[in-house]
């Protein structure tokens, strides 16, 4: 008889706990009434940003911010990255695809009100060319930028460069205000020191200006009052917050703390109830394994047989299971949807894997798999993926030890080419398959795997042929040949093209994924 009475306080306590848990979304950020114009937009993403100086940025978050702060000569509409459209300028090219003439749009101004001239364009691009250590520097390698008149600029290349307009749409090549940047240390001769200035304020013509930058917690943008383009922003203030855990992004989104969550994984978006919009598309990014070909780093295992062993030793369907909505198997270094991509990916072949492993001279050593553990790509966490790779490789007799590290720590080892065995990702910088040529020997990503041009001259030649084609059809064939050769003899094992799930509350629209700059913040507007 007494039992119900004793249960009552417990039930009340449990109810109170549940109620508290329900409140724990928090409301620390300013979410305002988003149905009115103005107000604040809050975006959660896992930061990958080193600076807001477009001349130095080269990371996904960095590109997204640069896209909001600066404008480029060429633009894309929405998520369509196959057709470049005029941005700050319209252009014409010659038949050899070596000379491009850009004509600036009239009446466009920087955030301080001054007009954008050919001098600004020439300075911006030459500044990056001058900074040999700047990450986007390679985008402009071999190009000559010249002023023709006050509103015309010509860009010439020694070799045919069909992809030039697509390259120029990269936010890293945003046009800066030459006068302001020069006053603050900017120069084109390589002695440029304007980065610290550009980390404090912006000097561009984009729809937003930089308010504050904190590389570890948040970037705050405010509306550019002098903006003269056609992408008038709907929000006065944008807060981009560093939320490294996708689970936290989900809680923030559900709790109304944020309006856009960039990195939810497949499991999480499936659980979202009504009131949220999810867009799942395959991203342009590829998650791959890298096997170093430099004897200094990988020792006796510096050969491509070991990568073949791993390529055929993996069960890709089981890996895809971890990646969730929107993701597909990577059929090669060129992801599906890009020119020259292979139709079929590798399927598991344990006999072939064991043969290749024997040929590689593998002798029971433990391979150390290095990967970033705090940076989900398209919602794919690297730690479970690495654990599954480890378990699968154990079946062909390859012992793997996992060595996770924070992104910021591990990036240096990856970029510096000191990883013997790594799990990384590659995202396109401009929407063209030429973007994946850096996997070739002696090129950017190839060198990170210690693979220099002399290691495989045939693939190096294929890459060079694809890069210098002037005819679109011939170029596609070159890309296909390159992708096939990489799957045969390359030091990379492409794994997954993760789906990109951008989840928003129903109160906002226009958050469209673009493989170059993630999301164009200016296109996000209140719904209705």
């Amino acid at each position: 008889m007494n039992a119900p009475r004793r249960l009552a306080p417990i039930a009340i306590g449990a109810a109170a706990l549940l109620a508290l848990a329900g409140c724990s979304g928090g409301n620390s950020a300013n979410t305002d009434d988003s149905s009115e114009s103005g107000g604040s937009l809050v975006i959660d993403t896992a930061f990958s940003i080193e600076t807001t100086d477009p001349g130095h940025t080269y990371d996904p978050t960095g590109n997204m911010v640069a896209k909001a702060l600066y404008e480029t000569l060429v633009d894309f509409e929405g998520s369509d990255v196959t057709t470049p459209v005029p941005g700050l300028a319209s252009w014409e090219q010659n038949d050899d695809a070596t000379e491009f003439t850009f004509t600036l749009e009239d009446g466009r101004t920087f955030s301080d009100g001054s007009e954008i001239t050919a001098d600004d364009v020439v300075f911006s691009l030459q500044r990056i060319q001058g900074m040999a250590e700047a990450k986007p520097n390679f985008l402009l390698a071999g190009l000559t930028v010249e002023k023709v008149d006050e509103s015309t600029v010509s860009i010439t290349s020694e070799t045919p460069l069909l992809q030039l307009p697509a390259i120029l749409a990269n936010p890293a090549l945003g046009i800066v205000n030459a006068d302001v940047v020069q006053e603050n240390g900017g120069s084109t001769d390589g002695s440029d020191s304007a980065q610290s200035f550009l980390d404090g304020e912006s000097a561009g013509s984009g729809p937003f200006v930089l308010d504050t930058l904190d590389l570890t917690s948040q970037v705050v943008l405010t509306k550019n009052p002098e903006y003269s383009g056609d992408e008038e922003p709907a929000y006065d203030r944008v807060v981009i917050r560093n939320v490294t855990e996708s689970a936290t992004q989900l809680i923030n989104l559900q709790g109304g703390d944020t309006m856009v969550a960039m990195d939810l994984n497949g499991d999480q978006v499936e659980g979202l109830a009504d009131g949220f919009t999810v867009e799942s598309v395959p991203s342009g990014q590829t998650i791959f394994l890298l096997l170093n070909q430099s004897a200094d780093v990988a020792g006796d295992l510096a050969n491509v047989d070991i990568s073949e062993a791993i390529r055929y030793g993996l069960d890709y369907d089981a890996l895809l299971e971890l990646a969730g909505a929107g993701s597909t198997q990577a059929t090669g270094v060129i992801p599906t949807g890009f020119e020259g991509a292979l139709d079929e990916g590798v399927t598991q072949d344990l006999d072939r894997a064991k043969e290749a492993l024997a040929a590689s001279g593998y002798n029971g050593e433990t391979l150390r798999l290095q990967f970033p553990n705090d940076y989900p790509v398209g919602g794919v966490e690297f730690t479970p993926l690495a654990e599954r790779i480890q378990a699968q490789l154990a079946e062909i007799g390859l012992t793997v030890e996992l060595a996770p590290a924070p992104f910021a720590t591990e990036l240096d080892a990856y970029v510096g080419g000191t990883e013997a065995f790594g799990l990384w990702f590659w995202g396109p910088d401009y929407a063209d398959s030429a973007n994946f040529l850096p996997f070739g020997p002696g090129l950017k990503v190839g060198l990170r795997a210690g693979w220099d041009a002399s290691a495989n001259p045939e693939i190096a030649d294929l890459a060079a042929a694809a890069a210098s084609a002037t005819d679109v059809d011939a170029r596609t064939e070159d890309f296909t040949a390159f992708a096939e050769a990489m799957q045969e003899q390359g030091p990379f094992v492409p794994l997954i093209v993760p789906g990109r799930n951008i989840a928003t509350t129903d109160a906002v629209t226009g958050a469209v994924y673009n493989s170059v700059w993630d999301v164009d913040i200016a296109e996000i507007a209140p719904a209705g």
């Binding site: 855990e245 996708s246 689970a247 936290t248 989900l250 809680i251 994984n265 499991d267 999480q268 659980g271 089981a318 299971e321 971890l322 553990n373 966490e381 730690t383 479970p384 690495a386 654990e387 599954r388 480890q390 378990a391 030890e401 996992l402 060595a403 996770p404 590290a405 924070p406």
Partner: protein
């Protein structure tokens, strides 16, 4: 019951303590703590033989709820949580015991030497101890683990470095009190070396409090190790360890069973060792035992005439 106890009290005191558990062991918390701690220790040394699945085998469907096939559900890569939880005990508990013993030995030696020799030896060692104690424990452990490189072994080293000073402090104060005792002085006059004096005359008198401290510290050591693993500085994937299991549970926040069970494991084992330490303190503290006996006797006699 009171008559029985009264009868016991009337019996020879020495006989009773030999035949029965000391009163402190019979306290409910002492019993609960001992049983749980013993159960975990047994699990820790036998789990690898009887868990239903290999802890790293990804053979089950992903994210299954707790049920009949998988007692505590499966995690995001299809591993059995129950097997991982039990295997986690084989990782954490022996290491925690080992690190407490190591910290106890180091701290006791430092404290005994400082207390016995005094003067500049005391000053030097104790200022060093203060130096380590001045840092917040977890932060210092993080710094050490991060600089040595993340691994379970380095986490243990880091934990030893931050836990020895409390033993040094306690031991020194005990030795300071004991070295002026007549029997210690007499031993010195008989020509005992400092080593013999410390081990024969002093050690038996300080071992009790130090053991109590060590038992209470096991819980803290398990928390510290799990905490470092949670932060990614201890056990590396795919090792089944409670802290790293909780850490990876964050990736699948909706699957409550991923984090709750490792959390409960930590809770029970830490609480158990704390109860055990409390009971041990009561047992090994003769004054506490005597005063409790007196109290009980007085209550039992119910004469209401305290001395």
């Amino acid at each position: 019951m009171s008559a029985e106890r009264r009868g016991d009290a009337l019996a020879a005191a020495g006989w009773r303590t030999r035949m029965r558990w000391p009163r402190a062991w019979r306290s409910p918390l002492g019993i609960v703590g001992s049983v749980i701690a013993l159960a975990w220790v047994i699990v820790a040394f036998t789990a690898s033989w009887w868990v239903p699945f290999e802890p790293n085998a990804q053979v089950l469907p992903r994210l299954q709820e707790p049920g009949i096939d998988t007692l505590l559900g499966t995690d995001g890569t299809g591993r059995d949580i129950f097997s991982r939880l039990m295997t986690g005990a084989t990782v954490t508990i022996p290491l925690a015991l080992m690190l407490v013993v190591a910290a106890m030995v180091i701290g006791t030696v430092v404290g005994a030497v400082a207390g016995y020799f005094g003067r500049w030896v005391d000053e030097t060692l104790m200022r060093l101890t203060d130096l380590v104690m001045a840092f917040p424990t977890v932060i210092l452990a993080m710094v050490i683990a991060a600089s040595l490189g993340p691994s379970l072994f380095n986490a243990v080293i880091a934990a030893i470095v931050v836990s020895w000073p409390q033993y040094a402090r306690v031991t020194r104060s005990l030795v300071l009190g004991l070295r002026g005792q007549n029997y210690v002085i007499a031993g010195r006059l008989l020509g005992h070396s400092p080593l013999r004096s410390l081990t024969v005359d002093i050690l038996p008198n300080i071992i009790g409090p130090v053991l109590v401290l060590a038992t209470l510290d096991i819980g803290a050591a398990i928390l510290l190790l799990s905490g470092l693993s949670f932060l990614g500085l201890g056990a590396q994937p795919p090792t089944a360890e409670w802290g790293s299991m909780i850490s990876s549970a964050i990736q699948n926040f909706d699957a409550w069973w991923l984090g709750v069970f490792p959390g409960l494991a930590i809770l029970t084992v830490v609480a158990a060792f704390n109860f055990l330490g409390d009971a041990l303190r009561d047992v090994l503290d003769p004054t506490a035992e005597v005063s409790k006996e007196n109290q009980a006797d007085r209550a039992a006699s119910a004469t209401g005439t305290p001395a």
